[in-house]
Homo-oligomer: 300 residues x 4
Amino acid sequence: MVLLPDVQALRANHELKLTRVGVTGVKKLVRVLRPGKRDYTVFTPTIDAFVDLPGTQRGIHMSRNLEAVNETLEKLVRDPSQSLEGLAGAIAEELLQKHGYATVAEVRMLTDYFMKRRNPSGLSLYEPYALGARAVAIRGKKTWRTIGVEVVGMNACPCAMETVRELMGEAWPKTREMPKEAPGPTHNQRNRTTLEVETHQLDAIDADELIELVERCQSAPTFEVLKRGDEAKLVLQAHGRPLFVEDIVREVLTAFAKKHGRLPDDTILVARCESEESIHKHNAFAERSVTLGDLKNGAA
Amino acid sequence: MVLLPDVQALRANHELKLTRVGVTGVKKLVRVLRPGKRDYTVFTPTIDAFVDLPGTQRGIHMSRNLEAVNETLEKLVRDPSQSLEGLAGAIAEELLQKHGYATVAEVRMLTDYFMKRRNPSGLSLYEPYALGARAVAIRGKKTWRTIGVEVVGMNACPCAMETVRELMGEAWPKTREMPKEAPGPTHNQRNRTTLEVETHQLDAIDADELIELVERCQSAPTFEVLKRGDEAKLVLQAHGRPLFVEDIVREVLTAFAKKHGRLPDDTILVARCESEESIHKHNAFAERSVTLGDLKNGAA
Amino acid sequence: MVLLPDVQALRANHELKLTRVGVTGVKKLVRVLRPGKRDYTVFTPTIDAFVDLPGTQRGIHMSRNLEAVNETLEKLVRDPSQSLEGLAGAIAEELLQKHGYATVAEVRMLTDYFMKRRNPSGLSLYEPYALGARAVAIRGKKTWRTIGVEVVGMNACPCAMETVRELMGEAWPKTREMPKEAPGPTHNQRNRTTLEVETHQLDAIDADELIELVERCQSAPTFEVLKRGDEAKLVLQAHGRPLFVEDIVREVLTAFAKKHGRLPDDTILVARCESEESIHKHNAFAERSVTLGDLKNGAA
Amino acid sequence: MVLLPDVQALRANHELKLTRVGVTGVKKLVRVLRPGKRDYTVFTPTIDAFVDLPGTQRGIHMSRNLEAVNETLEKLVRDPSQSLEGLAGAIAEELLQKHGYATVAEVRMLTDYFMKRRNPSGLSLYEPYALGARAVAIRGKKTWRTIGVEVVGMNACPCAMETVRELMGEAWPKTREMPKEAPGPTHNQRNRTTLEVETHQLDAIDADELIELVERCQSAPTFEVLKRGDEAKLVLQAHGRPLFVEDIVREVLTAFAKKHGRLPDDTILVARCESEESIHKHNAFAERSVTLGDLKNGAA
């Protein structure tokens, strides 16, 4: 039997610790049984998994990162976890077990996610969303976990609608008599809004609920199948609630604080909204990072 | 001196000719002096360069492909070419020189391109477009060259506008009295339209002209800087000319045939239009491939 | 009740037929029960679905494309299809049903795919691949279907290995005495090989078999989990079988013809191989398109 | 004259300040005259430009962000700046001027960059790199600027080389007599290493120097054109210096500290190294974030 050399355990070229060492872009098929659901939910996440490395050791044994991923997934078949971020947390804790020299482990996942939504005429179909999860396990401390959702919807510009009304009144004076509630033309476009919640008490938060919360904050949701009448209803819904990217970020955070105000004050929230402008080749963008405590105390 | 083995000239594992052998993803900085311009036009194309390979030879000498690219670019400094597709053609012909065993050479290029455009209030700034070029050189025959342009503009949906008017009339009867010319709300979005022209008489076609031709066929152009009044004018322009992706493809081909009808009948045209729908998470798409002859003869 | 206007059925701006009109980028979750498997196979394809459009009609009713996708997927739950390309074919035929004015329908799908593979020490885990399918249904004719697989493996350069041996012999004369079978250093890299098979007799072909066939043609396969000894075995396997991109394309086509020679002669094969060169910033590439008939008759 | 409504200046839906509001994905063509160069350097950056927004105001006037970009670029023609990060800083400061309500402005840029490199046989050609810049201007304080470079090179795995030697010795005992300096086969691959430097004293740092520094830390550089002898020399160079991603990050930081130790202690360094593994479908990754002070004091 050959005794293989352990090159990774050798001394490093420079005694310098590293923040993250590991693997990126690992694709997996994951089946999770979520509470209250009969069928397994399927994810196909791309996974990154890291540990830190002290200055005294040259390298990590990277195959252990993949073993941590796979062993955690196998356990899952027998004892199904309830969420993607729960899975990320379990992998991060397993990484600390396998890498005795590490003090921090981090796992990130990003996946497509499909959720049933009802369109204006009541047809219920799966719509695609994106789900992200991150977990940071620190030796001897609680694991921090993050759940993130991305929702593609629609936003209509309030500023252009006002100005268009003025111009229309000049060309067609009759339109001045139109009631203020009657929406006028404006530019509207695909809108991409994300919300990330980072906490060590994540169990109370459900990804489906987060998606619904964010979707309600856009000018209108979008659907795969729309008959002619559905299209018109959605267009009117969006024009009846024109919103800037700034408005949507504020709506999302306020709605979250209202619903989840009992979470710890050190919960970190990041909301982002990007509007793929129809009148520009570039995008409009707004973002807010804030703790739940600051948000509630108005220090925001 | 070591005589290095020529592994590529060995017999192949299977006597099977290959359609394309070469390099992909070569990034270059190219300066071209275009007719009627004082400053060099700058391109940063990503280049693919191929030749075919007979079944009797194991491999090509790939470094020759890159030498063909570089030598052609160097000549350009002394004798500037006038177009990206002219450059692609010159490289393809150089490839045939360098690979005596090849009968066909193909070069593809894709680059960002910046062109000055005047916004509604007259401000003139560079807007970004994409330019593509392809050349196919066949030993003993004329070289075929393709020029392609991509224009990001705006399109407004004509169908939703009609249906929205009906619904608005129910909620706000006054809007029924609005003149038909007064545009109503509809969904509008980022629109990506491309036109490719393949011919062996390409010199008469100018990329700038093609971009302008395509841009005039969308509901409205888009601009980097728009003050409030500009936004309103663009929104009204787009809503005054609502177009399906189908309409835009037909407009582009018809406008091209009108302007360039004197080109050879075997000129190949491909027009594509993709609308990044604001009311859906997917896109709407239309495409037509046709020869100029068929287009003119109504066989289309 | 409002009678909604059918804007799509109006006359077009120009009487010009269109090659493809439809939707792109539709994301779906699909469960398929493949023959001989107990569990459902899960795909998350991105789908494009088109029909042609006569010159006399302004637009298609795009929601019908999505209804064709969804109704076909629903039927699948009760009568599971056996393959992704079978599903694409069924959707294309449904599209012709729904669009009476169309003569051709086309459906394209691209998805991640996971397949169990055994690494050198016998550990069996899912590895990620990509699967593509395309179907073209022509009214009154047989449907053409295409199945495509993408395999990421490894290739080692045969040319550099020869030259490196020469140079090593100069610096360390003892290496000249090394047996020819002992592999020397060379550059090796991530290799991406695809095979597409288009035919109207596709039922005999299994995607898993195609993946295995392509994987055996690379210098070595790649695996998620490799312990130290596995790594060394794979490196030796790849260096014991150095291959150009040209070699791999020829191996793939020859192996396919040997195994599936009984398929119709008009079956179309496209093999592509791209090597993400470790010694260059660009890639090396080879491709062959050929009918099975030409391939077998040596006209190739 | 119409007095257009200033919708952005209205009160927000919720009194909540925002961290970043602005535009993303703005593409520009920029010419910069760098010190000691005769020709203008050309960049085609994608630009993001943000300011913060107090809770009392509904939205920002986004067209001002683009005016800040354009006015700064115009000034540049008359008074050329010397660097991309200098330009980012000037735009960020202009943003604070234009948005009186903002306290922080941030500008990010990412661009391809071409630099002349000499291959082993002395041929000098432009190689492609990526350059990033970021500037954060805080009202009443110094502007922080970041310069980042990305270098694609090659790394060879030290661990597999050791293990392969053992295995080779079993199969071909003669290879045991090979001198230790004679490199053996191992897996090697495309390597992507980045270094970011953030400081308020950036003038002393030159992007070209940073690129050279990073490139010297990989197992070997890569080149566009390599003749057969060049390939062999590069392969031997890489195999003579096998490096883990961990090694490369440490080399880069140590080399930077040695060369730029006189920069302020609060300078922030982030080094990342990603290896597109030839024996895996995923990547290996290492990262370190550290202040120059901590790095020099061994607290690292």
